[in-house]
Amino acid sequence: MNLVLRIWRQASAEVEGRFEDYPVSGISTDYSFLEVLDRINEDLVSQNQEPVAYEMDCREGICGSCSLMINGTPHGPRPATTTCQLYMRHFHDGQTITVEPWLSRATPVIKDLVVDRSALDRIMQSAGYISVHTGEAPDANTIPVSKSRADKAFVAASCIGCGACIAACPNASAMLFVAAKVTHLSLLPQGEPERSHRVRAMVVAMDREGFGNCSNHYECAKACPKSIPVSLIARLNREFQHAGLLGHEYGGPIHHAAHEE
């Protein structure tokens, strides 16, 4: 198939970007979207031109590196699909495809299609973990977890942190990402001790990075390559309200009188 890719080119964060058209021919319908970009880059390199910068790593839909806005949709038109797992059979011959970076204030462009997603890392560093002593792995089933809880936690844990939710959101909100990360730990016994601290710290970190607010458009879940449901955002709201109103981090120490003669 023959295609035209209209790609956002921007040499660095300091200069203005613009769209440029790249015609490409002889594309197999079995090419992945990234392989088309590779073809364009091979041509550009052979002509001594600057190749298009884009991010990728595993190419099997699990690492969360690929991040392209394809025809206005993060990861392109297919549901539950990352860019690397999007195949050209879902496009038609002669089509012009617009490719943009995932822009928001909290994820600025570094170059061409590459944006700085370290804001997501900083949210994770704030509290997106459990504090345990490392050592040998415990025996299986020493900590009981119900099947339904494990399933729910797994749905949340399948978030690959790509940031498609932020790119899809009209407010560039990171609520779905934070909701997934908070939920998967708060549902499991290992995450319970730091539960209220975690949600508070991650929401504060999210606010600090300059992401927007959820205003219930639910574009995030439609764009999510792992189909994280928007009900997790409601759960994040509940976790946060619970931590804010009842969490033991606030309100000082418990009154506990010592023995006096």
Binding site: G72, R105, S173, N216, N237
Partner: protein
């Protein structure tokens, strides 16, 4: 207290306040339309209802609390919207049409239209601006004749249609809020989503349908001065 102030300093806390004040406002419009529908029972029913409200010892408590709640709702709504436009400075993606952009901004647009409507509505029907002599009419039992105020006002086609247009913005606002309130308050059962969507439509159609029916009935001559 420290906890509450802390909640307010976060984005989720601010939206929680918008949602909680929104619930009061939803209950207010539901109560408002229930009262308005007494106009179909007759002149004395509406006037008696209005008399009951105006002589209530809670009148000013209610008025001032509603004013405070509306102001809080609007102030935080505007603040949240500003934060959101800051977070996404590039307003349009390729392939994103202008009407999608307007649609995504529908809450702030309809909200500000409704704020203007409330100001005009209170000035007009409660304070009597632009109504003239009808404002001072009393009915047979000596109550303020709200019925005649309403019918005289809606006999003006411009006012009737402007009112209907404003109610369309109420419909846009209300349709979004009923389900969103549950989400923001943390009610997350997915099996309820369809029911909440249905509830959103029902509340919107019932409330807005009720409000619109009155100017339409006056315009069609079904409600007239007695």
């Amino acid at each position: 207290m420290k906890r509450l102030l802390y909640l307010l300093s976060t984005t989720i806390g601010r939206k929680l306040i918008v949602a909680l004040t929104g619930i009061v406002l939803i209950l207010f419009v539901v109560g408002h339309i229930s009262g308005n529908l007494t106009i179909y029972i007759g002149q004395s029913a509406l006037n008696n209802y209005a008399h009951f409200l105006q002589t209530s010892p809670m009148l000013w408590v209610m008025r001032l609390s509603m004013l405070a709640i509306v102001m809080l709702h609007v102030a935080l709504g505007v603040a949240v919207t500003q934060e959101n436009s800051l977070a996404r400075p590039e307003s349009c993606h390729a392939g994103q049409s202008w009407y999608l952009h307007v649609y995504q901004r529908r809450m702030i647009i309809s909200g500000l239209v409704l704020l203007a409507f409330i100001a005009v509505h209170v000035a007009h029907l409660t304070l009597g601006a632009g109504i003239g002599e009808v404002f001072r009419l009393k009915d047979a039992s000596g109550h303020v004749d709200v019925y005649s105020r309403v019918v005289t006002t809606f006999q003006n086609a411009w006012i009737a249609w402007a009112y209907i247009a404003a109610m369309m913005f109420l419909a846009i606002h209300l349709k979004h809020t009923v389900r969103a309130v549950f989400q923001t308050l943390g009610f997350s059962r997915e099996s309820y989503f369809e029911f909440l969507e249905f509830l959103s439509w029902m509340v919107t159609l019932a409330v807005v349908g009720g409000f619109i029916s009155i100017p339409l009935s006056v315009q069609l001559g079904w409600l007239a001065l007695l």
